[in-house]
């Protein structure tokens, strides 16, 4: 039987989850990914990541600060947003937002404070005037830097970093679950969705840190730590292989099963999303960085420092774009076909609309600004006391 061409349910002419809902998982992905990098150092003792451990946590926190902004901008009634936390309806996955987000926020804040505590106290002692006041406030009235106290700090940090891994997985896995557990949408509804979101979060977090680290070192004129870059590239390669395999696995399963939904998913991928899925997500964002990183990992010993840095930088940038394309393809891709499974609509965000391109750019710039300010107050790259453990 030949299927009907182009029929949309009348209410399916509009896309409800806009560019803002693409931005939300993109930003929380950086949060989770960067946090796990810092935990890899604190919990799994991957020593090569030491130069990045503090900066990773700071990055995670900066992105966490703006994670709710795209959601607030999207809500029809943002003034009622607190209802999610005050009167959560727990049969909804979305109702977990308040608990997961707040728990994670407190955890990151606590870990950040404990890691920087010694530096804060010393800076409070060294500085004068407003600066002194600022650091005194940040020290929260605790000035104990005895070896016993520091040892205790270290233990708590390790514990928080360990608890933070599942917390970060929850924070981002839950975002994937929001999509993956909707039976109404065949492009979203798969148990793989949270897993794909998680691994792509790792990819985006690691890639972002590689880029930011290199930029920060270039600006401050310091050398880029080569073992660190090599290790990060290795991890990036590993996580990107897992992510892309899972993404492809999901599509191959749908295609192989030849289920009813493949009739809409197939044209979706080859026509509606051909640019953002095939060209950007799969070729530019996956195949090219895969080859680059493979070369870098396998030929690491023979590479010149500059070549290594450049390859890592280029591959990371491409992967940051890839993850955005992936978020776009999931969120928008899942909405451009009608629930009639028989037709497509279009979505082109305007530049100046409320949930448009400009709003997205501003929201994306904000965490970098916050990170810059945070890094001025709590310098991540000049550890006063390098711990060797």
């Amino acid at each position: 039987m030949t299927e009907a061409a182009q029929f949309l349910f009348p209410n399916d002419l509009h896309i409800h989850w806009s560019l803002m809902i693409v931005m939300y998982p993109y930003i929380t992905g950086f949060v989770a990914g960067a946090f796990v990098v810092s935990s890899l150092y604190h919990v799994f003792h991957i020593k090569q990541l030491a130069p990045l451990a503090r900066f990773a946590l700071l990055t995670s926190f900066a992105f966490l600060c703006v994670a709710t902004l795209p959601l607030l901008n999207h809500l029809g009634h943002p003034e009622r947003a607190m209802n999610i936390m005050i009167t959560p309806h727990f049969s909804s996955a979305m109702a977990g937002f308040g608990i997961i987000f707040n728990f994670y926020f407190i955890l990151v804040l606590l870990e950040l404070w404990l890691i920087y505590r010694r530096d804060i106290i010393e800076m409070a002692k060294e500085s004068r005037g407003f600066k002194r006041l600022l650091y005194k406030v940040l020290a929260l009235g605790v000035y104990d830097v005895s070896p016993q106290a520091l040892e205790k700090d270290h233990k708590i940090v390790t514990f928080l970093a360990a608890v933070g891994i599942p917390a970060a997985c929850f924070l981002h896995g839950y975002v994937g679950f929001l999509f993956g557990a909707l039976k109404a949408n065949p492009w979203w509804s798969t148990p793989l969705m949270p897993v794909i979101f998680l691994f792509s979060a790792m990819v985006s977090g690691i890639a972002l840190l590689i880029v930011l680290y290199q930029v920060a070192m270039k600006i401050s004129g310091r050398p880029i730590d080569q073992p660190c870059i090599s290790k990060m590239a290795q991890l990036l390669w590993l996580f990107m292989i897992i992510t892309v395999s899972l993404e492809l696995l999901e599509i191959i399963t749908l295609a192989y099963e030849q289920s009813e939904v493949w009739e809409i998913i197939h044209p979706l991928l080859t026509h509606q999303l051909s640019f953002s899925f095939i060209s950007i997500q799969m070729i530019l964002g996956s195949l090219i960085p895969f080859i680059l990183l493979m070369g870098m990992v396998l030929l690491n010993r023979y590479l010149h420092e500059k070549v290594r840095n450049t390859i890592a930088f280029v591959a990371s940038t491409l992967l940051i774009i890839q993850v955005f394309a992936m978020r776009w393809n999931v969120v928008i891709g899942g909405q451009i076909f009608s629930k009639s499974l028989r037709g497509f609509r279009d979505y082109h965000p305007l530049f100046l609309e409320k949930e448009g391109v400009l709003a997205a750019i501003l929201i994306f710039i904000l965490p970098f600004t916050i990170l810059f300010v945070l890094n001025c107050i709590l310098p991540a790259f000049q550890p006063r006391h390098v711990r060797h453990d």
Partner: protein, 273 residues
């Protein structure tokens, strides 16, 4: 300083000049005027409103929702695609343009099994002629609306509990609680919800809850000239809908989704989703 003191004295004198009796008298006058003013405000607004005679629920104080359980039957064999139901719904519920609480789809199937489906403007202005050159072997209209599922995905996913089911089986949205996140719109497999562009609140068919609690039929049922839409109360013994539910072979939309709709179809074809 002196001037200030003098002014103060003047004020107190003026106050003292107004006796208790005067005060009470003036107060009563003011109260009466205010009552009249406030009393007339809603009346002036109510006169041009045609629905003024139908107070919105829970206007009917005798209504007990535990005494009722509603069901809706759509007979696709009878529907002629006139679109009067869609028009009635829009008028009754002030449905915003380009959105639909109910709509009608037209299916045309050729001998070779090709299916042509359309629903121009939700079928509100009825349908144009069939496609030229398309050899229709069977054709039918399918009215659609919220299925008021008892295992509804939209209620499940609402993060603040704004979507709920009443005890008489109607799925409603609490206008004061909805945050406009759109999750319910994504979760509904029938695309029967939309975000009202003015109120920014999720909206859908209510089976005209303000009417049915008054013992009236939903506007679409009342408007249907051929009896393709039936609405009834399965807790009433002599209800025709209850009889059809008990004796006829019925179908629901997308049964594989296990949403348990309270909206049943007679003569549903396999091409309909």
């Amino acid at each position: 300083m002196k001037k200030k003191k003098e002014k103060k004295e003047e004020v107190t004198q003026k106050c003292e000049q107004m006796g208790r009796r005067d005060f009470l008298k003036k107060g009563c006058e003011l109260a009466a005027a205010a009552t009249l003013f406030v009393g007339f405000l809603p009346m002036r607004k109510a006169i041009p409103d045609s629905k003024a005679t139908l107070p919105r629920s829970p206007g009917n104080k005798d209504y007990n929702w535990e005494d009722h359980l509603y069901a809706y039957i759509i007979d696709t064999q009878k529907c002629i695609g006139c679109g009067l139901c869609v028009q009635a719904c829009r008028k009754e519920n002030n449905v915003p343009e380009d959105f639909f609480r109910t709509w009608v789809e037209r299916y045309q199937v050729s001998e070779r099994g090709e299916v042509e489906i359309d629903s121009p403007k939700g079928g509100e202005e009825s349908f144009g002629p069939a496609l030229p050159g398309f050899n229709v072997s069977k054709g039918y209209f399918v009215p659609k609306m919220c299925n008021h599922c008892s295992n509804s995905p939209c209620i499940q996913v609402c993060p603040v509990g704004a979507s709920y089911q009443t005890k008489d089986g109607v799925v409603l949205v609490d206008q004061k609680r909805c945050i406009g996140c759109g999750y319910c719109i994504q979760a509904c497999p029938y695309a029967s919800r939309f975000l009202n562009p003015e109120t920014k609140i999720a909206e859908k068919c209510t089976w005209c809850y303000h009417r049915i609690t008054q013992g009236l039929k939903p506007a679409c049922v009342q408007a249907c000239p051929v009896g393709a839409r039936l609405f009834g109360d399965v807790k009433k013994e002599d209800d025709p809908v209850r009889k059809i539910l008990a004796t006829e072979r019925l179908a629901v939309l997308q049964p594989e989704k296990l949403t348990k709709p309270s909206c049943y179809y007679l003569g549903l074809d396999k091409a309909v989703r």
